[in-house]
């Protein structure tokens, strides 16, 4: 049955199943401006909310005078913490086990913090009224540095006064949040103490922001007659929002409907719960009419979840030949005013403990200290699984530093330390079990494609030419080999606010042989409606074009934990395949009945069941679907539906090999990306075109972060990068031509072997761009310099190395 006769080939192609570069079904509406985003929702009588925000990073709120604002025609209400307190909604729990002010309760902890919520009949009036609310502040000392914070007498969070135990164990200081330790400290120290070679480095992974093109917002509509609350919003996890909204408001969960309409990018920024959501709900309950809140770009950059801000210190030991023997990592994590990280509950530093990377490191130790400062809360995973970008940047920089220490080629150093193909499944020193990998093959392919040896030769010649004064440009070769950990995750160790991180799919086959499938995830641009239909097409033999994929409406979609951390394909994709298999099992019984043979005598063949050995006797899935609804089949219920809740047995571990070639103008600090090669292994490839698109997007966001994108504060906590003039969002102009490539190492535990790819390019791209910049200066003695590598910092590096005269 397995020969691909022309007929079978055609039937298979008609399915547009897995492996086909099916065009994105979403794009027709997106490219024609017909998307339906939160701000497109307009309801009769709808009011508009806007925030009064703190200009100060740390201050007492002495008083809030609403009178002038309330006197402005069109202003309906001005809410403050005092108004929310009777409902116990002036504070809310964070995903990280902390709590956060919804509206300033006596003080503010960061610039841009929400102080009062103005509700008016018109968006413009709301904005005018914001200016009329008079807030009296009394400035307090500002702390923007976590190390200083841990030494300071200033108590940032008096609400936690005397609380020596936090959500993740003991607190060492009044501005300390948690210490998270993983691995074997004594064992690691012993190895380091006795090692032949040890390289040490301190690095700062700067604060940045996911900056989705669509900012955050919500529309709440409380129907007081039937007691139902409907909430539309920019939610990467609509079901979790429903549960949280129910727990917070006391409204029973069946009376809350949460809808994520089209979302214009999330990248982790839309995982958490923001004061704006809460205030729109409260305002709708108070006023009895729908209330919309949509933040602007500056509000998004200044107050919604940031990413990174990790101060990392590493020690890595090796033999003289370069075999790594141990790794030690300490992180001081700046969480801002509240700990609002979006990580699985038991992982306050996410999966930072994947920081042993792609290497066979016998012993390791990681400790992370979370600290409060006067900066915005957040700490989300910007286009990565929980803190994986930080982990990969850390190890890929440590490898480079070790290569310098050993005076060794960094590609070779990686090669001799990779986990070998035959070691998988591999248990890393910090506990994770890597499912599958073939790193050597990927690495060799990458180096060969870019002619690595040739590049190094050219680079050496360039250095000589530079020294002779013939050029002012240096050449950098950035290398990165990354392993991600995505698809959170097994319910046994991953939950968010107690909800296990399974995911789900529910399928209904219609009588005429088309179908709808609903999932617990929500696309923010990833193309779920395209790819999940392809998975299903291959599983159930119905063309992807005849399958609608729907997500985001909690009244209709099965419960799921949402989309972030590349979990949709590993978890909901698996649920989709499993639900498809249930459909197929029932279809098999129906087919056997229709063909008048035993169940075991039919087999699935692309889009039909055929009688074994007699392929001319068959029933197509279309015929089977019809039969499921139009005839009584003994012992089988009518209908053709299935639902699957999938609890993955393990994470998946995509990996990749990236090379970047850069020319750097030493005098102006301007880097020019000559070449970027990205080899990704995401296991089974569902839609190569979408994979390509995801890689381009992730690499571009990696370029941004490595070369300039940051949320910078001055000494008194003012955000210096609050608009897109200063916050770097690359355009087509700044982006090089990417070369993509792949190997395929399926996940052994995933039903279709897929691993997730949306975030790999970001995770691998950041260290690759950074390594290219740093590598350019290696010949002149540079060991490490921090990102972002914008013009002036690159210039400064050159300057410090004495390259200007």
């Amino acid at each position: 049955m397995n020969d691909m006769t022309p007929d079978r080939e055609e039937r298979s192609a008609n399915l547009k199943g897995m492996g086909c570069s099916r065009k994105r079904v979403e794009d027709a509406r997106f490219t024609q401006g017909k998307g339906n985003y939160v701000d497109d929702i307009k309801l009769p009588g709808m009011l508009h909310g806007d925030f009064v925000r703190s200009p100060y990073a740390h201050a007492k709120v002495v008083s809030v005078n609403k009178e002038a604002a309330l006197a402005l025609p069109g202003v309906v209400a001005v809410l403050t913490a005092e108004d929310l307190a009777p409902l116990n909604l002036h504070w809310m729990p964070t995903l990280a086990g902390d709590k956060q002010m919804v509206l300033a309760d006596g003080k503010v902890l960061f610039q841009g913090q929400e102080v009062a919520f103005v509700v008016a009949s018109d968006r413009y009036i709301a904005a005018d009224a914001v200016e009329l609310v008079e807030v009296e502040y009394e400035e307090l000392p500002v702390i923007t540095d976590p190390f200083e914070s841990l030494k300071s007498d200033v108590v940032l969070r008096p609400d936690l006064d005397g609380q020596t135990e936090g959500a993740h164990g003991p607190r060492k200081h009044h501005n300390h949040i948690f210490t998270w330790e993983q691995g074997d400290e004594a064992g690691t120290n012993q190895v380091l103490d006795n090692a032949e070679v040890v390289a040490e480095e301190t690095m700062y992974y700067h604060r940045t922001h996911p900056c989705p093109l669509e900012t955050c917002g919500s529309v709440a509509s409380m129907d007081k007659v039937n007691g139902k609350l409907t909430l539309w919003g920019t939610f990467q996890a609509p079901h979790v929002v429903r549960t949280v909204a129910s727990l917070l408001s006391g409204i029973e969960e069946h009376n809350i409907r949460v809808v994520s309409p089209d979302i214009g990018g999330g990248f982790g920024n839309k995982v958490g719960v923001y004061p704006g959501y809460v205030c729109s709900i409260v305002a709708s309950i108070v006023t009895g009419v729908p209330v919309k809140w949509v933040e602007d770009r500056m509000e998004n950059l200044m107050s919604t979840a940031f990413a990174r801000d990790y101060h990392m210190t590493g020690k890595i030991s090796a033999t003289k030949e370069g075999k790594i023997t141990g790794l030690h990592c300490h992180v001081t994590a700046d969480h801002g005013g509240f700990d609002a990280c979006a990580d699985p509950t038991k992982f306050p530093a996410g999966f930072m403990n994947i920081c042993t990377g792609s290497y066979d490191i016998p012993v390791a130790y990681l400790a992370v200290d979370g600290v409060y400062t006067n900066k915005a809360p957040g700490g989300v995973s910007y286009r990565c699984s929980f803190r994986v970008t930080e982990a990969v940047y850390f190890i890929e920089r440590m490898i480079e530093v070790l290569a310098i220490e050993l005076d060794m080629d960094a590609a070779e150093l990686r090669r001799i330390n990779f986990i070998k193909k035959e070691q998988f499944p591999y248990t890393a020193a910090l506990g994770w079990e890597y499912d599958s990998g073939d790193y050597h093959t990927a690495w060799d392919k990458a180096l060969k494609t870019v002619d690595y040896d040739g590049l190094r030769k050219e680079q050496a010649e360039r250095v000589e030419a530079f020294k002779r004064g013939e050029t002012r440009k240096l050449m950098g070769i950035g290398l990165t080999f990354f392993t991600e950990i995505v698809g959170a995750g097994p319910v046994k160790n991953c939950d968010i606010l107690g909800m296990g991180m399974f995911d789900s799919c529910e399928i209904r086959i219609h009588p005429t042989g088309s179908a709808i499938a609903r999932l617990g995830t929500i696309s923010q641009g990833q193309g779920h409606a395209t790819t999940f239909a392809q998975i299903l097409a291959s599983e159930i033999g119905i063309s992807a074009d005849s399958i609608t994929i729907e997500e985001g409406d909690t009244d209709t979609a099965p419960y799921g934990l949402g989309t972030y951390g590349s979990r949709s394909t590993p978890v909901a994709g698996a649920a989709t395949a499993m639900a498809g298999r249930k459909i197929r099992a029932k279809a098999q019984m129906i087919a056997a009945y229709l063909l008048e043979v035993h169940d075991d005598d039919v087999e699935f063949d692309i889009d039909r069941f055929v009688v074994k050995g007699a392929p001319e006797k068959f029933k197509t899935m279309k015929e089977i679907a019809y039969a499921a609804y139009n005839q009584a089949i003994p012992g089988i219920e009518p209908g053709l539906e299935a639902v699957s809740y999938y609890d993955p047995p393990n994470m998946t571990y995509p990996f990749g090999a990236y090379v970047c070639v850069m020319d750097i103008d030493v005098d102006t600090g301007v880097p020019e990306i000559r070449r970027f090669y990205a080899l990704d292994d995401c296991g089974t490839r569902i839609n190569p075109m979408i994979i390509e698109g995801q890689i381009h997007g992730g690499l571009t966001e990696a370029l941004a972060v490595a070369l300039g994108q940051e949320i910078a504060y001055d000494d008194i906590g003012n955000v210096k990068t609050g608009t897109l003039m200063d916050f770097f969002l690359p355009t087509a102009w700044e982006v090089p031509n990417y070369e993509t490539d792949y190997t395929v190492t399926p996940s052994p535990h995933h039903p279709i072997g897929a691993k997730g790819v949306g975030e790999s390019p970001h995770v691998g791209g950041v260290p690759c761009f950074s390594n290219a910049v740093q590598d350019a200066f290696r010949a002149f003695g540079l060991r490490h310099t921090n990102m972002p590598h914008d013009h002036w910092r690159i210039w400064q590096t050159a300057n410090k190395l004495g390259l200007h005269e």
């Binding site: 300039g708 355009t731 102009w733 700044e734 914008d790």
Partner: protein, 288 residues
């Protein structure tokens, strides 16, 4: 990013524009392409209760080249500059500069008049106009008057223009010799980290005349007479260029911002000017 309420006017004659300006004083402002003014209003950094749109006024969008004199109407867009072949032939530095301003979308809207009148040290046209020794032509309640671009800028956003005056055009002599507009920026749509406008004339291998202006390196554009003088009479050799750079560095006064600290900006200003002079000079010799 929601502006405060404002009244919108779209008068059809210049007299009406001036009447409205006179009536409302500094509560009124004219708007050309709106690509500097509207963002400021949205950020509520500019409060403009009376906004006067100039789009309906005739005769402000002409590019005229008469003999040796070039005049650009205030409402000529940056895109118009790029697309005008006659202008590019007569004064190629305009196209070279305009292509380094913002992006195509902004250039379709942004005007010469708005860019010159705005008074933002980041704008590229003011330095260019100083390099070209342009005249800025204004009209007001008391009639027309002209101010040299080199005298026009007082400090950031403060210019010689009175509140009730409108910029109608800029004019300058057809430049001779080689040109270059060199700009370093962080990304498309960014203002200059440092930019240099250079015109040089070559007479038998010797610099006959030169004009040099720098952008975003002080609170006003910097026309550096000393830098130009350092070149004149030389063969534009490395030493002369060094001397010009040293003179220019004496005239600029950059401040630290997200683009970088002062030392970096001064260094880059030197590099950018060196490159601009070199390119402008190479264009003279290649023409000769």
């Amino acid at each position: 990013m929601i502006p405060a309420a404002f009244d919108y006017y779209r008068p059809e004659t210049m007299d009406d524009v001036i009447a409205i300006l006179q009536e409302h004083g500094d509560d009124a402002r004219v708007m050309a392409g709106g690509h500097s003014l509207i963002p400021m209003m949205k950020l509520r950094m500019a409060d403009v209760p009376h906004l006067i749109d100039l789009q309906a006024i005739d005769g402000l969008s002409d590019i005229t080249i008469e003999g040796n004199r070039i005049t650009l109407g205030a409402m000529v867009t940056q895109h118009d500059l790029i697309a005008h072949d006659g202008l590019t032939a007569a004064a190629p530095i305009l196209q070279e500069t305009a292509l380094q301003i913002a992006d195509p979308q902004v250039r379709y809207m942004g005007t010469v008049g708005g860019n010159v009148a705005n008074g933002d040290p980041g704008n590229d046209m003011p330095g260019l106009m100083q390099c070209l020794d342009a005249t800025i032509n204004l009209i007001g309640p008391d009639g027309a008057r002209s101010v040299a671009a080199r005298d026009y800028y007082e400090s950031a956003y403060m210019t010689a223009r009175e509140d009730d005056e409108v910029l109608v055009s800029v004019s300058f002599d057809t430049p001779s010799g080689g040109h270059a507009y060199e700009k370093q920026k962080r990304k498309i749509g960014d203002y200059a980290t440092a930019a240099a406008a250079v015109q040089i004339a070559n007479s038998g291998g010797i610099v006959a005349s030169a004009s040099i202006a720098m952008t975003n390196l002080s609170d006003v554009p910097v026309w550096s007479d000393d830098a130009a003088k350092a070149l004149i009479g030389t063969s534009c050799d490395a030493d002369a260029v060094k001397a010009a750079v040293a003179a220019m560095l004496g005239d600029i006064d950059p401040s630290e911002d997200n683009r970088g600290p002062v030392a970096f900006k001064r260094h880059v200003a030197g590099v950018i000017l060196t490159r601009a002079i070199t390119r402008a000079w190479s264009r003279t010799t290649s023409r000769a």
